[in-house]
Amino acid sequence: MSKSNNELSSEFSVVGKRIPKLDAAQKAMGRAEYIQDIKLPGMLFGKILYSKYAHANIVKIDTSKAVAFPGVHAVLTGEDVPKKMKMGLIKDNPPIKKGKVCSFRDEVAAVAAISPEIAKKALGLIEIEYEELEGIFDPEKAMEKNSPLVHDHLKSNVLKMPWNIHYGDVEKAEKESAFVVEDRFTTTWVTHCCMGTSGAVALFDASENLTIYTNTQIPSLAHKDFLEALKAMGLENKRVRVIKPVIGGGFGSKLDTYAYEHIAILLAYKCHKPVKIVFDRVEEFKATSTRQPTVTYIKQGCDKNGKLTFRNMRMVLDNGGHTSWGATTPSVMLMPISSLYRVENVKYNAKCVYTNNTYSQAMRGYGNPQATFAIESSMDILAEKAGIDRIEFRRINKNRSGDETPQGLKITSCGLEECIDAVKEELKFDGKNEKGVGTGIASLIHVGGGARIYGSDGCGAILKMDDYGKVDIFTGGTDMGQGLDNITAQIVAEELGLLAEDINVVHSDTDICPWDVGAHASRSTFVAGNAALGAAKKVKKKIQDFASKLFDVPCEKIELKDKLVFVPEDKEKSMTIGKLLRKAHFRPGGTMLMAEHFYDPDNQNMGKELKGNMSMTYSFGAHGAKVKVDEETGKVEVLEYVAAHDVGRAINPLLLEGQVYGGVVMGLGYALTEEVTIKDGKIMNANFRDYKLFTAKDAVKIKAPVIETIDKDGPFGAKGIGEPGCVPTAPAIANAIYDAVGVRIKDLPITPEKVLAALKEKNG
């Protein structure tokens, strides 16, 4: 039985406490400054013109009318973009296209003007002559030899990516399997739906140094991208300062730099004025990147006792017209494919294919939701074929502490079994359900201790104390609403015997904050948390050293708690931390207490063989759903939902539950309602009326049992939990629908139409 979330981590003063988000009042009272709120003297407004076609040659552009329009300061086309200014993973995407467009979201021109309205009007005055080309919108068709090419200079639409692995011997294992199942699953485009739309404000100082205010989850990598942009513009050795305003939602959408940022830079440079570009909601839907759609072929088998023997998966990913981080999601998909449950023989091949659709990017789970949908649906299908109870089947194959998976993942702490038990207990899987009602379960594994996908997986922290017992900590980590501010404050406060409110977390400015690879891969609590903890430990040591001299006792006898420095066995020897700080400072040869720490986890890059322990530890979870299916309409109602996670330790159960609730609702939308409808490359539902994001009224009651396994490497034992909440949601729902009415839906989202069509087919 899991503990109630109120009883977690009771041995600490600050860690484990349900402390509301530190900036909650600022946000609730409208005081938080988002990109929309940034206003600079002399600021101009930029707008972007997008392509009229999914695939076309640009024959001619005439900007003369726009240039002449009163209030317009600059008009840019692809001709004005320096040759080497390109974005994305393989730099195949200039911020404004020249010669050819390969999706509707391709930028073809941009304007800076004294008002957004004038800029918009000027866009309408730009005359472009296109020559439409045949488009290709189905990635499987795009792989065929005679398919139109999205990029003419390439021989094929298939990207050169290394996603092809074989651990063990899949063919042999298949022959020896008692039961084998094979299926095809598909997922479609969904988008992050950040409540705060994208935007940036760029400005140059008189020495041509760039400051850019922008919504980003990767300040340090964005800093690097913008340095490269300046270099491409001929501005070598200039400085770049990236300032993050308060971010209204990230979910992976801000893991790359985008055309609007580069265009703001180009316009600001040309106009010698600050230039602001902010997306409206339609633009947010049309010109930001989605989660990548997948076609998945899965085959897996087990022996007669239910032990998994092999897993063989092949995927085709719709890359869209350009390449961002979406093309690297197979590196994370590989994790559940090779390591969700014990399976020795694994084959995986993924092809990323250019199409004339929108290009995809990172989104919460980074490929894991797509892979887990196929794996966990297939697990139920296989269990049924083998005649084994689906929970028992998962137990037989569960991951265990001490395992090393075929991919080389080293499983340290592992609470998967406890998570499965918690779901079973809450949803009463053995109970009989009424007609049309069913239960489903699906598990997850995700990186919980960083993810080394870059040369460094590190994060820096600088900590300084004032004369009164307050702390400023400058972290490389990013808070985008997920709660890194609280986590950092609670970790530092616990270590230094202070309160969370004594800690000011600064995370907004590359001029001030140290390097960090980014707020991705559920890594911030673990990596930024360890960086903050490291800095706090160093300062604690300094406090103890100073107190040791003051109290004349050995260092290790000195404790910090309740804002006091004291020796527990000698009540006379006690002082407020503030007083001690002043004693240290205001004396001849005085000192102020500061420390820095850079934490880079001891995890591995996967290398060419795609093997290695990419994370220091892994988070586990199991989700269970009880659904009611209306057999006449195909509509699915979620009656109950349980999402149990092994998080190592809950630093803040309140925020943790928030992350899980949010993840689950996002996952339920993915399972049941959300879909960017794209027809011949064109987005047909660029609004919240037709993009069916769950509303508050659709949200279901979610129970979120927390399993604490106290990870040896995590800060206070914590593991990452940012993404898992939306990873196994869709298969849990799909499995519950099958349990309820006996139809297996293999294509997301599971709409009433799909369910009803399947029921009609089943019932003849």
Binding site: E632, T633, G634, T673, T677, K679, M684, N685, F688, R689, D690, K692, F694, T695, A696, K697, D698, T751, P752, E753, L756
Partner: protein, 292 residues
């Protein structure tokens, strides 16, 4: 967004006069949940918005106990209808429809008249008023005239209203005893949703339980809200049971002019008409039984 002047007349005559003065560049506004969106998006660029909010008689919701006639001012908000116990008890089909429009915030300002005048095929508010044989009272420069709500719509976004004419109120004739009515919005979400299909059913039974009156009204089943006359005629004079309702559902589905759109497929919409005519019909029968 283009700037506009906001006028607040206190009588219908004053509103019409304002509109006359500014003619082409003026637009009436009710709750604003449609008009303001259109202005913000630049789809509509009026110089003057003439608010009907201060015209008191237009916000009145009143049932004449002597005649049994219900009068709903066009400026009555969805929330007012939703919260009225009289509406809930005596006109459940209105309650069903308005209580699921948009969100709480939308219902607090959006008006029943605005919902009709906006004239989208999916207008939830239109269906119950058609089912209840509602009559729209229009007031223009030349005085008043009445139009049955079912004849109000010409095409999507188009009504029979003449320039400067105002929808003042909707009257509902007295209800027969032994009447039940119900509406369902079939959609994907529980709020902020347009119906994929909207189905309203009203049944009146004679003392011997045969159907004296039937109304089957559909939203999103045609370019304008429609009545399924064939299905209605099929029901009248019959003793209603589930099998009869199943048959009526089939007829209504066949009569509908549903089509494929990005929101939903025609075949599924037909199925939903078929299923929900029966379900709403059964709901009506239960209501009638409960009220005996």
């Amino acid at each position: 967004m283009k700037a506009f002047k906001y006028l607040s007349p206190t009588t219908v005559e004053e509103a019409i006069a304002f509109h006359g003065r500014h003619s082409e560049t003026a637009k009436y506004i009710g709750g604003g949940t449609d008009v303001i969106v259109k202005v913000k998006e630049g789809w509509m660029e009026p110089d003057y918005l003439i608010s009907l909010k201060k015209i008191e008689e237009m916000s009145e919701l009143h049932k004449n106990d002597a005649t049994g006639e219900l009068s709903i001012g066009a400026m009555v908000t969805h929330a007012t209808l939703e919260k009225s116990l009289m509406i809930r008890n005596e006109y459940p089909i209105i309650y069903d429809a308005v209580s699921n429009i948009g969100s709480l915030q939308v219902r607090n300002v959006g008006t029943i008249g605005g919902n009709l005048i906006n004239a989208v095929p999916s207008a939830d508010g239109a269906i119950p008023l058609i089912a209840l044989d509602g009559v729209a009272l229009l007031h223009g420069p030349d005085g008043e005239r009445s139009v049955e709500v079912k004849d109000l719509f010409i095409a999507p976004y188009k009504t029979v209203l003449k320039p400067r004419e105002i929808l003042k109120k909707i009257t509902i004739p007295p209800q027969e005893p032994h009447t039940g009515s119900a509406y369902i919005k079939f959609g994907r979400r529980a709020a902020m949703e347009l119906p994929l299909i909207g189905i309203g059913v009203l049944l009146t039974l004679d003392d011997d339980d045969t159907c004296a009156k039937a109304r089957i009204c559909l939203g999103v089943a045609a370019p304008t809200p429609m009545r399924a006359f064939d299905a209605e005629n099929f029901l009248v004079g019959k003793k209603i049971d589930e099998n009869i309702l199943i048959e009526a559902g089939k007829i209504a589905a066949d009569e509908s002019k549903v089509r494929d759109s990005i929101r939903g497929k025609a075949w599924h919409r037909k199925e939903m008409i078929r299923v929900h005519v029966r379900r709403m019909g059964l709901k009506c029968l239960n209501m009638i039984k409960d009220n005996y």
